[in-house]
């Protein structure tokens, strides 16, 4: 059962990603990105990482993408000003290199050989919560500081000079 | 040394090194608008420094080869680095040369240096600290510090107060010496750790290093590093191109000190560090060094002959004279080395005087090109007399200082390197050629250039700083014993030390092995 769902959601994710990268207009890219995020969340669920799936949907798809769409509308680049993008020179090389990277990660993936763990619900909220507030407490606090810094930074940068 | 109070004699050398530094600090407080006061103050400082160095020379006991007036204070005990200074027969006269020439150089700048007089004087005093320090340091680390310290003031002296291409020359001078000394630093560190490996004691004390026996292969590379660093400084043949540029673009006082003392740090380095520490490699590489020295002698003389600029001519003549010194040092016998040391002093005196002479007419005519002059002898006869005496001393006429040094060098070198001496002796002819040709074009003949017709003759101040040099030229020429006597013990001790260490080191090597086999494990 799981492999089928994996293939479905995997395909959606990959397709969405490709569409994000190739669309001319940022708004359509943003929407495709949201689709991809949902597909990834589904994959999390498949891997019993329910907590993560929820976070993904709420934080990522919800908050971050909203921010994105908000900014896209804010910037509202007129149709003609959007950069003409013909894939030439260095950027073509870049795509080729990315292809290479995919190939290499494929080879790496096949070399993955780690013993399977025992506990099934490693991804559940209880397990993640316990780990988060015991071993990784410090990391957790630091991320809060990080977010604070990001917020202040964003405001300072985007604020119109009065 | 009995009559010098005990307190003074133990701290004399430290006073000698750091007194100019105190003088430099004092200059900071003097008003910049009053250059005359600054010049006189600096002159006073350098004169007191000279007076301070007199007891060292007079009190020096020529009988023993040991270091005298030694002062030893632990500096960085953790690494076995000490502030260890002392003087012996080899370094005594070089220190005296420095303290003797400084007042003369300062006196020569009274009309030559007009802008930034305060900074100029401070750099000169710092330079003196470095120079005196180099000759007195017995601790390798301390030696290296003073060796580098000297570069900075000289760089500024050339870079700021020089003439046309001063920046290029200053940088070239700095990089040349600096590249060399980096190699030396590597060798010092290698020596330091080898000493620890051999004796289990961390120290940079030179005298302890003398006792160290170093495996032959390591000796080769270390000697190469030290030799290269000193060869840049001497300068020996292929590494000499910085010297003419540095001299042409340095102010008169700068090039006097550069020629008279800085170059001697190279040859002194060979004698104090490279040869005694690595005797096997030194003697094995003697043919190479002697060849470069002889090439330097002939090449320097030939190129000097065709120079158009007087200072460049004198610079190339220094390459030739120092080729002689190197040949003398690498004769590995008492005559050669004593001749070498004496020639270092002679070169300091006569080339220093030559640069002052070129400086005198440069101050009057603001040009150094030989064809600008001609027939000066009629206009400035006293100047002509002084110039003639210095030319003769530089050519090495018996009765002047040049001859005694050159004769001893060639005598010593003849014993160990017969054919090298024959070629080197042609340098005696060539030096006569280029010096007399230059003298003739500048002083004799008709007055070609109207501007030369009314040149003022030597001023009392100029006579004041030329006179001591002339006295030295004749003193060393007629009665060199005062100088040679004080060197004897140290030089013979150095020669015997090199020889015994070499025999010891070669003791266990197979007999008659070729150099390649000894150093590069190539099967004989």
């Amino acid at each position: 059962m799981e492999p089928i769902l994996f293939i479905i959601f995997g395909a959606i994710a990959v397709g969405g990603a490709i569409m994000v990268v190739t669309r001319k207009h940022p708004m359509s890219s943003a929407l495709y990105l949201i689709l991809t995020l949902f597909a990834v969340a589904a994959l999390f669920v498949l891997r019993q990482a329910h907590f993560l799936a929820a976070i993904q949907v709420i934080v990522y798809a919800g908050a971050v993408m909203v921010l994105f769409i908000f900014v896209i509308m804010l910037i509202n680049v007129p149709e003609n000003k959007l950069p003409m993008e013909r894939l030439t020179g260095l950027r073509l090389l870049g795509v080729v290199a990315a292809g290479f990277l995919i190939l290499e990660s494929a080879i790496l993936a096949r070399r993955f050989a780690m013993p399977a763990g025992s506990t099934a619900d490693a991804g559940s909220v209880q397990a993640v919560g316990r780990a988060l507030f015991t071993d990784y407490l410090l990391a957790f606090e630091i991320t809060s500081v990080l977010l604070l810094a990001a917020v202040i930074g964003a405001i300072a940068l985007a604020k119109r000079k009065i | 040394m009995t009559w010098i109070p005990a307190y003074l004699s133990s701290n004399l050398l430290t006073a000698l090194i750091f007194f100019p530094l105190a003088g430099a600090l004092l200059l900071f407080f003097l008003p910049r608008e009053n250059p005359r006061l600054i010049r006189n103050a600096t002159l006073l400082v350098t004169l007191v420094e000279f007076l301070l160095s007199l007891p060292v020379a007079i009190g020096f006991n020529g009988a023993t080869a040991a270091m005298q007036f030694v002062q030893r204070v632990p500096w960085i005990p953790g690494y076995g680095i000490e502030y260890h200074v002392g003087v012996d027969g080899i370094s005594l006269w070089l220190v005296m040369l420095t303290t003797f020439l400084m007042p003369i150089a300062i006196l020569s700048t009274y009309e030559a240096v007009e802008k930034h007089v305060k900074e100029f004087m401070i750099f000169m005093l710092v330079l003196e600290v470095g120079m005196v320090g180099v000759f007195l340091a017995i601790d390798l680390f301390l030696f290296y510090i003073f060796w580098e310290l000297v570069l900075i003031p000289m760089y500024f002296l050339i870079g700021v107060w020089g003439s046309e291409r001063r920046i290029y020359s200053a940088i070239k001078f700095f990089l040349y010496t600096f590249a060399g000394s980096v190699l030396m630093l590597v060798a010092i560190i290698a020596l330091y750790f080898h000493h620890y490996a051999a004796t289990g004691v961390y120290t940079t004390n030179l005298l302890r290093m003398y006792e160290l026996s170093i495996p032959v292969k390591l000796q080769f590379w270390m000697f190469a590093a030290f030799a290269l660093a000193f060869a840049f400084k001497v300068p020996m043949f292929p590494f000499h191109t910085w010297l003419p540029d540095a001299h042409v673009d340095a102010p008169t006082a700068g090039s006097v000190i550069l020629a008279a003392v800085l170059l001697k740090m190279g040859t002194y380095g060979f004698l104090r560090f490279a040869m005694p520490l690595f005797p096997v490699a030194a003697v094995d590489l003697m043919p190479l060094v002697a060849t470069l020295a002889v090439i330097g002698i002939i090449y320097g003389a030939l190129v000097a002959m065709v120079q158009k600029d007087m200072k460049k001519l004198v610079a190339y003549s220094s390459v030739s004279h120092l080729g002689f010194v190197m040949l003398g040092l690498f004769a590995f016998n008492v005559q050669g080395i004593e001749g070498g040391i004496l020639q270092m002093i002679n070169h300091g005196v006569s080339t220093g005087a030559l640069f002052l002479i070129v400086g005198i007419i440069y101050e009057r005519r603001h040009t150094r090109l030989i064809e600008e002059f001609g027939g000066l002898s009629k206009v400035v006869p006293l100047y002509a007399l002084v110039f003639m005496i210095v030319t003769l001393s530089s050519v090495g006429l018996p009765g002047t200082n040049g001859f005694v040094g050159e004769f001893l060098i060639l005598l010593g070198a003849f014993k160990t390197a017969k054919w090298y001496t024959v070629f080197a002796a042609t340098g005696v002819i060539l030096s006569a050629v280029y010096m007399l040709w230059m003298f003739q074009r500048v002083m004799f003949g008709k007055i070609t250039n109207e501007k030369n017709r009314h040149l003022p003759d030597l001023k009392p101040r100029e006579i004041a700083y030329m006179l001591p040099l002339l006295v030295m030229i004749f003193w060393i020429g007629v009665y060199p014993q005062t100088f040679l006597r004080k060197m004897d013990a140290s030089v013979s001790a150095a020669v015997t030390r090199i020889e015994t260490k070499r025999q010891a080191a070669l003791g266990e090597r197979p007999q008659g092995e070729t150099l390649l086999a000894r150093y590069f494990d190539v099967k004989k």
Partner: protein
């Protein structure tokens, strides 16, 4: 539970696409989105391996990645707005003031 290799492969593909997007596109917004894709690819890998090993650390890391991603997006977009206000463009090839 499935072997994680498939997930890793997927993560590689997604990552490749994201990288291609960053490199190939001139529109700064699209680049930022591609970065988001790359981060998600990483999360997939984390979760896949984490669940395979039964170790919550995978999720923790994914969680950290997300917070960082959020912060990064916020600051990135703020910069973009400031640039757009200043230069009227979001084409990175025109924003090459730091040229040699």
């Amino acid at each position: 539970m499935m072997e994680p290799t498939a997930y890793l492969l997927l993560s590689g593909i997604l990552f490749g696409i994201g990288v291609a997007g960053v490199v190939a596109r001139k529109n700064a917004l699209i680049i930022l989105m591609s970065v988001e894709i790359m981060l998600n690819a990483v999360n997939v890998a984390f979760i896949a391996v984490g669940s395979h090993l039964g170790d919550p650390t995978g999720s923790i890391f994914a969680f950290m990645v997300m917070t960082v991603a959020a912060a990064e997006a916020a600051v990135g977009l703020a910069i973009l707005i400031a640039i757009y206000r200043l230069k009227e463009t979001i084409d990175i090839t025109e924003l090459s003031v730091l040229k040699w």
